[in-house]
């Protein structure tokens, strides 16, 4: 297999005066699983769009199957057998699975009427290729993320694909779903289809790929066989920095718990949850996506008040029926979905930081103390090292990691006792992830009680001193993270 399937060399592209790709090369061999990794904004998505004909390159050469390609249009790319599965899958949510799968073929046949028998046949053939078991008459919007992805893969396979590009396919999947996705990818490989797998998750790269390429700031920094790669090199290539991940060891834990749950129950979500959290502790809560972990977080913050049971703060029972109660008792919550629950994206970084403490920024006469506001913003931008030239810029101008720091800053500004974080580093690049972990560890050492809800097990083990595993709404087990392996936790989760 000396001849490469796709060979892109010295590709350049710029938008205005931003050089999105300075000089990148990418070579994919027929039938291999190739992993393209890099931090947000490194040019991963840009190169995909060039290969699939969405953008036109400014320079460099691209060969596919030995043929030099001058200009690529999206149709050319599809005809050559290049299929892209984007993060949002590009499916029609209001149509059924069968309609989504058969639409292109039906349109291409240029018939004025639809043969439903034909639609079914096409769809059945398509899902059979990956043994995907689904109700073909179900509307796509009713499917889970993993199922939607399978529909998109089935559709991609219909047109004699030779190279399938998957843009961060595992972001919204649970561990179990990732495993079944990987099985399908391996099966495609057996059929001789090359896969370009975009990811910035280290363990996935090691698990699935034959070869890898890493971009940083629009340049290719490394490529080669995955066998020759290790953790340290991978993070170094990705970020250009070396990290020493510190295992969290609690210091100055308080004698008495700062926050306790007693038999907390929410019908249909979780039942009889008991735990206590001391100041200076980081408690991990993990479980599958539908285990009730998110509902538990929402109950503790008053967004879905529990039906029965008690919440105690410093030993006294408190009532939390809405987020304002929680904030009053110095409990903060960093939500799961930063973009739809955590940030006012189009508003200024500054306003995003001070919004939860805004009622404390008043002068005696009730006026908004603008001077104090600016001081607070300056203080938190500096404290959390938010990389911005001007905090009046909207939050959209920042990267995922810096946006997450805004959400953290918002809560820290409220001077909390307990901070609950749900998936604190989802979609955040390695560098920022490391920094956020360090911030959380430092805060715990300063006496904050921290709860991290996450299914990123390395994250939980590294940053928490205890972990609770939730399954079907109940606490299944509790471990000291020093004495537990990832496999033990996974066994309890499943």
């Amino acid at each position: 297999m000396s001849q490469s399937l796709l060979k892109a060399e010295h590709v350049k592209i710029s938008f205005g005066n931003v050089h999105a790709l300075r000089d990148v090369s990418l070579e994919i061999l027929p039938g291999e699983i190739h992993c393209l990794a890099g931090e947000n904004g490194c040019g991963k998505s840009t190169i995909i769009k060039i290969i699939s004909g969405v953008y036109q390159r400014d320079g460099g050469t691209i060969e596919f199957d030995g043929k030099k390609l001058e200009k690529i249009s999206p149709i050319d790319a599809i005809n050559m057998g290049i299929q892209v599965i984007y993060q949002d899958f590009a499916l029609f949510p209001n149509l059924t699975v069968a309609e989504n799968l058969a639409l292109n073929t039906e349109l291409a046949s240029r018939k004025k009427t639809v043969s439903w028998k034909n639609v079914r046949k096409i769809a059945e053939e398509a899902v059979a290729k990956i043994n995907f078991d689904v109700d073909l008459d179900e509307k796509v919007e009713k499917l889970s993320v993993a199922q939607k992805q399978m529909v998109a893969i089935s559709r991609a396979l219909m047109s004699n694909a030779r190279l399938i590009i998957m843009d961060e396919p595992t972001t919204a999947l649970t561990k179990k779903e990732v495993n079944s996705l990987f099985k399908i990818i391996l099966k495609l490989k057996e059929q001789g289809i090359a896969i370009l797998f975009i990811s910035h998750k280290l363990n996935e790269v090691f698990e699935i790929s034959d070869r890898f390429t890493i971009f940083r700031n629009g340049e290719m920094v490394a490529t080669g066989s995955t066998k020759d790669l290790d953790d340290k090199k991978f993070t170094y290539y990705m970020t250009g920095r070396e990290f020493n991940d510190q295992i969290f060891v609690p210091e100055n834990m308080s004698e008495k718990p700062v926050f306790e749950l007693k038999n907390l129950t929410l019908e249909g979500a979780f039942e009889a949850i008991n735990f206590s959290l001391r100041r200076g502790e980081i408690l991990g809560i993990t479980g599958l996506l539908d285990s009730g972990r998110t509902e538990l977080a929402l109950s503790m913050f008053g967004l879905k008040p529990a039906d029965s049971g008690e919440i105690l703060k410093e030993g006294t029972p408190i009532k939390i029926t809405n987020p304002r109660d929680a904030i009053e008792h110095k409990i903060g919550y960093v939500p799961e979905d930063r973009l739809s629950e955590g940030l006012f994206l189009t508003q200024s970084i500054g306003d995003n930081i001070i919004i939860s403490e805004i009622d404390k920024l008043k002068k005696k006469n009730g006026q908004f103390d603008l001077k104090k506001r600016d001081e607070e913003i300056k203080r938190w931008v500096a404290e959390l090292e938010i990389k911005t030239k001007n905090p009046d810029n909207p939050a959209t101008t920042l990267s995922g990691g810096n946006q997450q720091r805004i959400v953290l800053a918002k809560w820290l500004a409220c001077n909390l006792d307990v901070l609950i974080l749900n998936g604190p580093t989802v979609g955040v690049d390695i560098g920022s992830k490391h920094d956020i972990h360090m911030v959380l560890q430092k805060l715990a050492k300063q006496g904050l009680g921290v709860i991290i809800i996450s299914d990123d097990l390395p994250e939980v083990i590294q940053n928490c001193n205890r972990v609770l595993v939730i399954k079907n709404g109940k606490i299944r087990s509790e471990y000291d993270t020093q004495k537990v392996s990832e496999q033990m936790i996974i066994d309890d989760m499943m």
Binding site: S340, E341, T346
Partner: protein, 330 residues
Amino acid sequence: MNKAKSIYRKNPEVSRLLIIMLLWLIFMMFTQAEKFFTGRNFLTMAGQFPEYGLMALGGMLCMITGGIDLAVVGTANMASILSVYTMIHFFGEDGTMPMAFSVVIFLIAVLTGVVVGSINAFLISKLGVPPILATLGVNEFLTGLCIVVTNGSAVSSFPKQYCDFFSGNFLGFIPRRLIVFIVVAIIIWLMLEKSTYGTKLRLYGTNAHVAKFSGINTTALLFRTYITSSICAALGGLMMLATYSSARADYGSNYTMQAILLIVLGGVSPNGGKGKISGVITAIVLLKMIESGINRFRSVSTYYVTLIWGAVLILALVIDYFSQKPKKTK
């Protein structure tokens, strides 16, 4: 040139309106200078716009939350009819009302605003009715109520002291209605720029869900907003009462759309989260100048006013499009 550009960028909503205003004034200078550029004409304009200007100021707040207040005219007429009946009740149809009683009239307007605004806010925040439907329903209900109470005819026999005073001028040349408008505008400016309310309002309008997650009391915020809007509308009703010297269920029925046009023209985003009072005030003044200017042409019917307002709104949006158009990308 660069300096002008940076000023424009800093406040595009106001700047583009000022450009249109300037062009219009130049046009008037060449065509109707002697009729348009008179002190009296400007005073007339200043006395007329507060009616719907007040409605636009309040409605602006609702639109910043991403909502809308379509009940402004119903509220205005309700307030003026209630005021008139109160005057008749205490002083008879042709009695004399002591000037101090105006305070009571204003209290009635504020009270009407509180009640109507609370109903709107209750429907929106507690029952989850979309603002456009909630306020439309309330507007129809109020208008209907006014028609039933007045039998659909104008009420014009009542003590006129209030009307005479507020349709008159302060120091002989400043319309008193303008003073009411300025006072309300200052209060709203203070709310938006000098209190935490403004920040909460804009953030709520950007994303109500995140606002809840951030611990903002969204119910209280909506009550405050819709009550303020209704109070402004009710005061607008009092200004209408002063102008027409009578009250009727269907006065100013085109003011609803006019107020919304002014708000959008003033740069408030219908999606919420964005808006400045300076933009809305500029829009109010601009449209009054255009309307008044058109009326100076004998050959142009006043029917053209609506047409030209529509054209101005579209023009403003077009200017906006070209000034915000991102640089060409590959």
